[in-house]
Symmetry: C2
Subunit: 241 residues, 2 copies
């Protein structure tokens, strides 16, 4: 771990293209409790988000990683906030402001159980016939549509099972984020979830860019390069506040 | 891994007290899909169940471990069946029959979503306002109440948050199992879930036995000792078929 810290120190001080930039990365799933033993969650290993946080650090950025429960190793040289629910993730993301960039990679639950009971729900007492849900805060939308102090670049992720490009482009418009990283998570597909490789489409105001399949570390490096370029130039329309 | 196999080989052939006994252990959570990305699950690390499977193997038993998704290492010298849902766990448990003993340690979801959609449910298309549930098969009850070929000893687990002993004793009667291993998983408690230590009460036809807090490996060894004793003698009322 000391070796990691030293490595991170040298990597971070490498006068990288993102030196001085403050960037939020959200990663992993959120976990929404039903009662003390049951919960609703999303499938997300956190691998892609952690790789992005590391790639941004290696480019010299000051990275804040807000993460749901994963089995990934806590990376060195990064400020890590561990959260469970979408509400906790929203709060930690807000607390990270002001930001130059936000990369919302976490698989945030859109919904949570309306009521969280503190005692285990007993089947023999009538149990559960359905779980009433309520909407969670929308972290990507909230950051994208900030009236004041919006991060210059907000990047969302779209894990889709059908009409990947159509859904992802619609998501970009609906949320108001600058970029969307889209991938296909159909059960039948060569699935990105949990694996070490990924095949993504980067959707920006300039159009769609399908990247060849590569390791999640390579996706992270390539995305960090693109972020560094976007934050360098005056190319972002939405950044022209 | 070869060292593990060799170790397991020697441990298993140690002419232990459970030599020749066929024992099922269920462990870990079950995962009940809502759609390709969302699921309902239970909090369970699988640690106690895996430790029990290993302790039974070390006593010479032929162990079949039916396990939900965990991050535990697959133990050597044990037949392992990996499953996701309660229905899959029920099927794998039935397939393991005939058995001398069944140790149902898994945190099986009582309920699953009534409908599993194969496409990701979209929030912007109305999304989810509630999740209708349906009852899952009850593995412990099914094994306990078999009319023919019931395992001589069926052991259930009860993770409770209030009135631990009362709920656990009621569970023993309701399910028809021989023993219940009860523990307190209240959020405020020194919680067994995920940790390496456990504090249990063993409930049998002879009464309740509160064990002092010990490691999960020690709980496993002590339980394996008790199982070996129970399967040796003619002491089990329900075994007198």
């Amino acid at each position: 771990q000391i070796a990691d810290e030293i490595e991170a120190h040298f990597l971070k001080n490498a006068h990288g293209p993102l030196k001085g930039r403050r960037i939020l990365v959200t990663a992993g799933p959120t976990v929404e409790p039903i009662d003390p033993v049951r919960f609703i969650a999303n499938r997300s290993s956190g691998k892609q988000g952690y790789a992005i946080a590391e790639a941004l650090r290696n480019h010299g950025a000051e990275v804040i990683l807000v993460t749901g429960p994963t089995h990934e190793k806590i990376p060195a040289g990064i400020e890590v906030k561990q959260v469970q629910s979408a509400r906790e993730m929203m709060e930690a993301s807000n607390a990270a402001l002001p930001l130059d960039c936000a990369v919302c990679c976490a698989a945030v639950a859109d919904y949570r159980p309306e009521i969280e009971t503190t005692h285990k729900i007993k089947k023999e007492r009538g149990g559960l016939t359905n779980i009433p849900l309520t909407e969670n805060p929308d972290i990507l939308k909230t950051l994208s549509q900030m009236k004041e102090g919006r991060p210059r670049l907000v990047v969302g992720f779209a894990a889709e099972t059908d009409d990947v490009l159509g859904h992802a482009e619609a998501k970009r418009n609906r949320k108001g984020c600058d970029w969307i990283v889209a991938n296909d998570v159909s059960p039948g597909e060569h699935c990105a979830m949990g694996g070490d490789r990924n095949s993504i489409i980067l959707i920006t105001d300039k159009g769609d860019e399908a990247w060849p399949e590569m390791s999640k570390a390579d996706v992270a490096r390539k995305l960090a390069d693109s972020i560094a370029e976007a934050l360098r130039g005056p190319t972002l329309v939405k950044a022209a506040e």
